[in-house]
Amino acid sequence: MLFVLTIIRVAFKALGRNKLRSILTMLGIIVGVGAVIAMVSVGQGAQESIAGSISGMGSNMLYVQPGSFNTGGVRSGMGTMTTLTVEDYEAITRECSAVKYASPGINVSQMLIYGNQNWMTSIQGGNTNLLEIRGYKLESGSMWTKEEETSTARVIIIGKTIVDYLFPQQDPIGQEVRIRNAPWTVIGVLKSKGQSGVGQDQDDIVLGPHTSVNKKLQRFQHIDNIMVSAKSEELIPTAKAQIEELMRYRHGILNKDDDDFQVKSLSDMADLAKQSSETMTMLLASIAGVSLVVGAIGVMNIMLVSVTERTREIGIRMAVGATGGDIQFQFLTEAIVLAIFGGILGILAGIVASKILANSLGWATMVSTSAIGMAFSVSAAIGIGAGWYPARKASRLDPIEALRFE
């Protein structure tokens, strides 16, 4: 142990004698480790924000969509059928014990006009539980009432983006917006949710009673989807099963494969998004990893130069009693010290870089301890890997030849 410590001290001294070279060699590792840490934190930040925005779309949310069309073997795309009705939604509310709220969903795209401003956006119809299901909150105004829903009142609640475009200077509550040449009264403004993980503006939205949206803007019998909120996270699978069973019964379906609807949970979507962002993280990390490999080659290069340059030193050490193993250990230690110090500085550089990215570009970054642990062990491994061959070479020198080296 004592001997090991002494040799480590010898290695430090040797590195200290060549400060500039040691620092430049470490720089390769610093840049490599720093790049890996920064890139992984960008990737993981994106992953976190996607997961966060998906769960922000609504708590314990399930989504019932019409299924694919199948006549004589010809299938149309998912969601093209018009099989869901208001009655289906009422039945789900009534029959499924694991369901807390359900709301019909109708989506139409319409132009909103106020004064000399206009804005094309998507109008979503729902019932009075829409805010709870979708996880929206009101900033001002109030939700529409059951009475307004049954009387198909022309009332809307608008998102922040709409407020910015149509009402830049004034309070939108109580104002009348023209949609399809009819006036609709703004009764509420939603709290901002910001961008979703895939870059979609979640504040560019208009909500209205499904009855009004359907009758005044669409005039169809069916609804586009049914949004459901399960009673708790654990009950999501139960709610899903209950809805599927109920829908099959109501639509007279005997075989599971013939379902004309589909029940999706948000966690399914979250998994999908997570997969794609994980792929991105891997991609970023492997590109950064290339620079780490370059850094490792730098360490090996310098160690080889160092062994050649210090051949006489090796000869002297051997003459006074160093074994090949002692010499190998000394050079290996030098390489490991370079790599580990480079690794530590690289970790710091990576943390700083990801903070800078977060502040200057507004990217969500998250420095994970696992990335730091990985980077540290990788740099130690680089030290061993890149130092092994030069150290081995040094240990095999013939002391007589080494002493004669000029």
Partner: protein
């Protein structure tokens, strides 16, 4: 009284049995060394027989290529004989592994070179400590012993100087301090005065003579100069891998006497 004496004799016998060669430090028997250089086979040493006793001061002379360097490398355990035996204090070196050879170099052999061979950018103290590192000795003890060795060479005030800040003579003294720090049984010097001016050469020879006389240290020294050779006690001359002459030094000179006759330094 008789039985007592008998037991003492037995003790004496056992002692000589453990060290069958008595006072012999080096025993070389039919020593050969070949080098394979491609197709060529160089026969550097051709069957040497030499015995060196404790306290001898042996000068080795010979033209370059005569095999004297090869012989020194073998004596210093830097290399192994191709054939024959070399006993260092009764240990057959030809049978040892590389690690064991390193151990012997560390504990029993001191080297002094023509080019000093100190580590550059490393202080005198650290240079002298070098062998002790590989003996696994603690830092405090290393400092103490290296300081002692430097003091003996009259260099205690140069302990923290690096080689480039020292004169040639001082560098060679540091190298001698390094060779002595582990109390070796033989001191091998390969043209130690080759890079030094004549006055400094005599001073260095004085150091070797003192170590040889006062500590009974066995010194083996290679030189080209007959002048330097006259400070030894025995001269072995090499030629073409053979020992051609092995004789005591006639008219031996003492370095301390020579220094007294030298003109004082002008600056």
């Amino acid at each position: 009284m008789q039985p007592m004496k008998a037991s003492q004799e037995i003790l004496q016998d056992q002692k000589t049995a453990n060290q069958p060669n008595g006072n012999h430090v080096i025993e070389v028997e039919n020593l050969h060394k070949f080098y394979e250089m491609g197709e060529m086979r160089v026969h550097a040493l051709r069957g040497l027989v030499v015995t060196i006793d404790r306290g001898e001061f042996v000068i080795i002379m010979g033209a370059s290529g005569s095999g004297k360097s090869t012989f020194m490398n073998l004596l210093g355990c830097l290399d192994k004989p191709s054939r024959g035996s070399y006993l260092l204090e009764g240990t057959d070196v030809s049978q040892l592994s590389r690690i064991q050879l390193a151990r012997i170099r560390n504990e029993r052999v001191g080297f002094v070179f023509q080019g000093f061979n100190l580590l550059s950018r490393t202080t005198a103290t650290e240079n002298v400590e070098l062998p002790l590192i590989y003996s696994g000795i603690r830092a405090r003890e290393r400092h103490r012993r290296s300081h002692e060795a430097l003091k003996r060479m009259g260099l205690e005030d140069r302990a923290n100087h690096i080689p480039s800040q020292l004169s040639g003579g001082q560098q060679q003294r540091v190298a001698i301090a390094r060779s002595l720090v582990n109390s070796p049984i033989i001191l091998l010097a390969d043209e130690p005065t080759g890079n030094l001016d004549s006055r400094t050469s005599v001073e260095i020879m004085q150091v070797f003579q003192e170590l040889n006389e006062q500590e009974n240290l066995t010194v083996i020294l290679v030189t080209h100069e007959p002048d330097i050779a006259s400070y030894g006690k025995r001269i072995i001359t090499f030629r073409d891998g053979h020992i051609t002459r092995d004789e005591p030094v006639r008219n031996r000179r003492m370095a301390s006497d020579v220094i007294a006759t030298l003109p004082p330094l002008e600056d």
